[in-house]
Symmetry: C2
Subunit: 567 residues, 2 copies
Amino acid sequence: MTDAATLARRIAQGRGDEPADVVIRGAKLLDLVGVGLVETDIAICGDTIVGTYGSYQGRRVIDAPGLIAVPGFIDTHLHIESSLVTPLEFERCVLPHGVTTAICDPHEIANVLGAEAFRYFLACAEAMRMDLRVNLSSCVPATHLETAGARLEAADLVPFMNHPKVIGLAEFMNFPGVIHRDPACLAKLEAFSARHIDGHAPLLRGLDLNAYLAAGIRTDHETTTAEEAREKLAKGMAILIREGSVSKDLHQLIPLITRDASPFLAFCTDDRNPLDIGEEGHLDYMIRTAIAHGADILATYRVASHSAARNFGLFDRGFIGPGKRADIVLVDDLAACSVKQVVAGGRLVEEALFADRAAVPSVGHGSVKCRPVTPAAFEVAAREGQTPVIGVVPGRIITERLSMALPSRDGQALPDLAQDAIKVSVIERHGKSEGGVASGFVHGFGMKRGAIASSVGHDSHNLCVVGVDDVAMAAAVNRLIAIGGGFAVAEGEEVVAELALPVAGLMSEEPFETVRHDLEHLRAAAKALGVVLAEPFLQVAFLTLPVIPHLKITDKGLVDVDAFALV
Amino acid sequence: MTDAATLARRIAQGRGDEPADVVIRGAKLLDLVGVGLVETDIAICGDTIVGTYGSYQGRRVIDAPGLIAVPGFIDTHLHIESSLVTPLEFERCVLPHGVTTAICDPHEIANVLGAEAFRYFLACAEAMRMDLRVNLSSCVPATHLETAGARLEAADLVPFMNHPKVIGLAEFMNFPGVIHRDPACLAKLEAFSARHIDGHAPLLRGLDLNAYLAAGIRTDHETTTAEEAREKLAKGMAILIREGSVSKDLHQLIPLITRDASPFLAFCTDDRNPLDIGEEGHLDYMIRTAIAHGADILATYRVASHSAARNFGLFDRGFIGPGKRADIVLVDDLAACSVKQVVAGGRLVEEALFADRAAVPSVGHGSVKCRPVTPAAFEVAAREGQTPVIGVVPGRIITERLSMALPSRDGQALPDLAQDAIKVSVIERHGKSEGGVASGFVHGFGMKRGAIASSVGHDSHNLCVVGVDDVAMAAAVNRLIAIGGGFAVAEGEEVVAELALPVAGLMSEEPFETVRHDLEHLRAAAKALGVVLAEPFLQVAFLTLPVIPHLKITDKGLVDVDAFALV
């Protein structure tokens, strides 16, 4: 609620009865209704635009000759945890790219900490300069085939639903549970039936898609082809076009971006790491890429702002006009989307903006609760004949189900570098199943020696280690246990590279620049072991995700995803 | 909130696991995203669509070969009181025209009854087959220049704001109060600052418009030219294109209706009487007229449905797709918008649909609280020289300020038929100001004898009578007092035509067909007195509206609207 005194100031400044707090002068405004570019002052009072298409005096003036003002960009679905930094660092990283609103789903940290994840993200949201909105994680744990740190039922979500930063229910990943009317799913859908409910419906089509939509679910960000998107759009589902670090759908979906379809579209990043943000950008990258591949400029900017806002009921943004939030991006070229300045909630984005934020105590320390392991923990009993092997596909989270005849010694199956078959193990780390370790083999890393380990392992985030020798595997895992989670690369008993992620084993407490540097070092260290994959830690993190075909591994064992059962 | 059992049924029927409650078969569906017309079954479970683009079995089948299915139409701003029938009769009248959602402002009855008006309309909404939504009247009374039956402050509105049928705050007519930061206005804007606030901003432009928008007001339905609309659209204001019985803006605004602008537009009727609904139609008339004058078909249907829904945060409608409200209009021609069948909340609109609605006790009986008058009540002291005379403009609510030298007798000014100057009087009828009568003269009716009187007189709805002789004026007024309000035509002492409007002096309790017949009779009776105006009772009703230039009359006296003061 906005108090009367604030409203009075906005009205007075909008009318020019007193100088505006801030005036952006000399920029051209992109009119989203379709008129084009018009030069005008933009007057701002506090966090709100109060005047356009007029001449204003300002207490502070931002001169922007030659620049074009567009509404702040809205990321409609993401897991901030995938940036590996805290929400307060995340905004330092992406606000300069023009992302003034982010709608996050704290699904990863909720799988570790449960409802404490919501309290932490909501506390961060209140301290942040961008407007962080939270959808409440709907599917914790994601499946029964893994051990997560928490379980969230409808009754656990309801206490948070009226928080002003909460929009509704986050991606309803358990689409089989929806269409088969699982009672726990129905309870969540009922609780949020008058609110926004985000979808997650990869490849869902036909009557199954109808059933999923009939449940009240509004959006999908898992659509990977234009043809699939067209069915969903025709049925009234909003499509959130995604370009993450792993799942990259933008190029396939660019043909959708037309003025006619724009009200039904939005952009999102889902999972995007700081290396990609640094090298390519964030939503600014999506905008320039879409336009470069033929998308209409007006439609693209609408999708990034007004349409996104409307699809999530955020009436106070997505347009540069009086009464709207002062979220403004100044670019020097619309097609290039080259961001020169950003105003977020009326404040110029510069390093000083972040200096005086309220501190938010971080959470999830000590979340890696397993005891140190010995090399013997990773033994795999030899089989007669063929052994199932997970086949990694470079740059994709889908895997192949392979089988190989592996060498053995003393009844134990051994890695076979000639076949590129090395070990993969998952160690339960939430203190729920003491000593829970499952091991198997994986193909595709190209690793010749050592091991790499991660406490990021979707969606339960147990410890996952891939290695050529058990000693190095134990060294890497024990290092993660010692530092409270993170990434580690080991050769023999020595840890040669690491990144601590002490916040629930998922996020660093360091600046994003440090994390970016450490990630580059980790990549190089993995490559030195012979690893041929471009993003080895991302590939490790998705080996454990038992909702993506075909063969995965959790702390409970190898999972045949097609049969949705343990092997 | 939708309960889990209902959700489970929707999902099961959407998936085809059980027959749908209703299937519309053989129709083509207008895809609002822009693909065109596609033949498909439409499956409905209860009040909700659960399947499109598929083949379904149904417990009931509506065969619709050759018809086109479009989403139910949404009237985004109206005063049902102007239909002269109760809300339950109103829906009988307009649902067959495809209007499945109406967002009303009970401003007229609230001026008579105060908050009781909200209770009554909300009770009606719960009994109705269309979805009636209520915006809470923001400006009761409209001005200090008249005596209304009630005064509503922010604290009177707040208790209703969380009712599920309430959207937000209705048209904020007091735009001078907004831009000059009147404390009572600010209190209302504050209370609804997180909700929808409808605007009312005739001719408001430039920095004044910016100030009005900066207050958080989102829409305008008072825009009368495309050029005015373009400024408002460019500033982010949604334009509700209006075609009422008095204010008719559609033709001027048709050029706005493009696909590009469609997300920022909606339709409304504001004030539309049953004669016009019968002779022309309702939103169906607006659609066919817009298309006939060159508006794009897809854009027009979007404006009538999806865009309207989105501008008011109604996510569950405005599109024919699974999960949306089953509000479907079947037309046999898109351009003609010839409505053949209507489904509202999953039920076929036919006379039987209205038979079993819960009865809603009507309100506002005895709202005409003044005592009978004598002819002497209408005496006007003669002036030296010129007397101010209200100049009626046929078909418009604006009036001219004329002055005439009038004849007199015994110190009393007299009507002068040669100059078409007859008497007009307003009698306070809310029991607030016993004996409050103001009289003056009006030009333009062409009346040669008798009088016509009305208890509908915007916005305070005191009794207004226009007449050639004081005896007939008293007869007409006293008849209104006897029947609890309405319209009356008198010749000498005899009342020759009447329509009782016992519900607050504004609405009949009869079927709309009866009201329509009585209105025709009243029109004929007025014409027999010599009246040359096409809609004499509408013109009377707006003689009293002191917010529309130039010269008006209230129970307090003649009002110079330009000076916003009594003459």
